[in-house]
């Protein structure tokens, strides 16, 4: 019964549209965005589907305005989202820092393109540092989830709203142009992957009726206040690091080589793993799903006993730093291309063979 239902629910969608639909299903009540390729399908989908459902859609005058509108909507207790691509995400960083500073939930989607600067509109994974190191000013982190398929993109968007609300923290979906643009079947059912109970938003601004006023702020001028707040954040980060590491693996039994890749790049690695395994070379894929917190526990476990770890990225080497941090003393080999260059299966296969 259940199975039939899920089958019936499978539809062919582009990643950008699937993420938009997933947000709507997760109860996103407010969306603001500004056009930028390769995420334009997302804003168009929200424009079409939000208003008929009595949700709010605003085409903002800039990414700055969009993220600050999201700040307001979130302060009002509503599930809020914005999306953009690399240059636009850079503009949002001040706002994301304010969200973290004011303990406000929000979901931000980055459909990455090449950089630096205006870069190109081709797929890239070069915003990893920005995504996983806070991105804006101040001591903070954003939970960061990286989908490798359209279906997973939809699921992670739903999860992102729960994580954001539970931890009262901005949560980022780090997709790339390939994930945003490609079409795949998606199961459009709201899956409750997050099992913890999300507390009521009694901090939200609704008007001080029958209660004392609520204040949303990130400003702590009095000596000691900010330090106390930062310590609260430290506890939150530790808690998230402990509980929210996510990853998946592919063919990792008895492997001698472990390849680490995320997002669309992991799909290409999977292809390479299949070919190598056929040639009896014991290699497997470790795919981080949460980029912050980095799934270091899983990585440590799976890298135990392997000869070499290979990291493949559509960047000049960003995630590789987290792999090295997690695996001190382990030989880590890096393969990366940027600016629209995508490491191909053949190159991955050759690299493994050269490193045997």
């Amino acid at each position: 019964m259940e199975k039939n239902k899920t089958k019936k629910n499978k539809v062919l969608m582009a990643g950008n549209e699937a993420m938009a639909e997933a947000a709507i299903r997760a109860g996103c009540g407010f969306y603001a965005g500004y056009p930028i390729t390769p995420q334009n399908e997302l804003i168009a989908y929200m424009a079409k589907k939000m208003k008929p459902r009595n949700r709010v859609f605003v085409q903002a005058e800039s990414e700055l305005a969009a993220i600050n509108m999201v700040f307001g909507a979130s302060a009002a207790g509503v599930r809020a989202m914005t999306s953009s691509s690399s240059p636009g995400i850079s503009l949002k960083q001040e706002g994301i820092s304010y969200l973290a500073g004011a303990s406000l939930p929000a979901v931000i989607i980055n459909v990455m393109r090449g950089g630096p600067g205006l870069g190109s509109i081709e797929s890239s994974q070069s915003d990893y540092f920005q995504a996983t190191r806070g991105g804006g000013h101040g001591d903070y982190f954003t939970l960061t989830l990286a989908p490798w398929s359209v279906d997973e993109a939809a699921r992670l968007v739903m999860l992102a709203f729960d994580l954001a609300d539970y931890y009262r923290n901005p949560t980022l979906i780090l997709a790339d142009a390939i994930i945003g643009q490609m079409m795949e079947p998606v199961e459009l059912i709201l899956r409750k992957e997050f099992k913890k109970k999300i507390p009521k938003k009694n901090w939200a601004l609704t008007g001080a009726k029958g209660r004392s006023p609520n204040i949303i702020r990130s400003f702590f001028l009095k000596e000691g206040l900010l330090e106390t707040y930062n310590e609260y954040l430290r506890k939150k980060w530790n808690n998230i690091r402990k509980n929210e590491q996510r990853f998946s693996t592919y063919k990792t039994d008895k492997n001698k080589y472990l390849i680490v890749a995320y997002g669309s790049q992991a799909r290409i690695v999977r292809e390479a793993v299949d070919i190598l395994r056929k040639e009896n070379i014991k290699v497997g894929l470790f795919r981080p799903i949460s980029l912050w917190p980095y799934p270091e526990k899983g990585l440590k476990r799976l890298a135990k006993g392997v000869k070499k770890v290979v990291v493949v990225e559509q960047s000049l080497g960003q995630m590789v730093e987290d792999v090295k941090l997690a695996l001190p003393g382990k030989e880590v080999v890096f393969l990366g291309k940027a600016g629209g260059g995508i490491p191909q299966a053949k190159e991955i296969i050759n690299l493994i063979k050269r490193n045997r």
Binding site: V56, E61, A65, N68, A75, T206, G207, P213, I215
Partner: protein, 244 residues
């Protein structure tokens, strides 16, 4: 004996951090008083700026959100669109509203967001120690215009944002007043009330620009500061209703 000058319910009875003679204190009170009179305290949400009024929530006794420097009207848009039943207003200085946040100001106004905006024009950046603001007068000395603001040499002219906003279709009410004398304070109060009533009646974007003194940065006594508003500021920024 009956007390006739009472603290508005929407204002907390606390000490002020503002300099003596500063306009912000009076303006906080006028906003609070208008909210009381319209009986909307329990549904009002204010947005504090980044500027000297950054901790306005220490004084106002209703829900308040902070906003990044210049982004108050974007935050207000987010809140009001989600909670149209609430009364939402921003309170912003000239740097916040007319410089770094001018895009948000212009576009919120142009979208006709049903909001109330209180624009405090003190012709300088107070909080950061007295730099030139877009509204700084010609010839006015600030720490970034040490020889006086010189439009011809690239400092630009005093920005008349209220006049600019008044030509936008989404804007329903723009007025400029001065708090340099009791009559002006009364007028300011009436404008603020109207700007709130417009929102309650869903008329769209209303803005009240208030010429407000900053004796500290202007390096004047509080009395001389008020005189300077009347003698100099009003010439550049004429008072009255600009659009209704």
């Amino acid at each position: 004996m009956k007390k006739s000058f009472l603290l508005p319910k929407s204002l907390k009875n606390v000490d002020t951090h503002y300099c003596s003679g500063c306009g912000h204190g009076i303006l906080h009170r006028l906003v609070a008083q208008a909210i009381d009179e319209l009986n909307i305290r329990e549904k009002t949400i204010g947005i504090a700026p980044v500027g000297c009024a950054v901790i306005a929530y220490n004084y106002w006794d209703f829900d308040v959100s902070e906003a990044a420097h210049g982004r108050a009207l974007a935050v207000a848009t987010g809140i009001k669109r989600c909670r149209p039943q609430n009364v939402v207003f921003t309170y912003q200085g000239d740097g916040d509203l007319a410089s770094i946040g001018i895009a948000e100001t212009l576009h919120s106004a142009n979208r006709g967001e049903n909001l109330t905006c209180i624009f405090v024009n003190n012709a300088c950046y107070g909080m950061t120690g007295g730099q030139m603001a877009p509204t700084t007068l010609r010839g006015q000395k600030t720490i970034t215009t040490p020889l006086g603001r010189d439009p011809e040499s690239g400092d630009g002219w005093p920005l008349k944002l209220s006049e600019v906003l008044s030509v936008l279709d989404g804007v329903c009410f723009v007025a400029r007043s001065s708090m340099s004398n009791p009559q002006g304070v009364k007028e300011t109060y009436q404008y603020i009330k109207r700007a709130f009533i417009n929102q309650i009646e869903k008329k769209g974007f209303s803005l009240v620009e208030v010429l407000s003194s900053c004796p500290t940065i202007w390096q004047k006594t509080p009395i001389d500061a008020l005189r300077w508003i009347e003698d100099e500021m009003v010439k550049e920024f004429p008072l009255g209703v600009i659009k209704e």
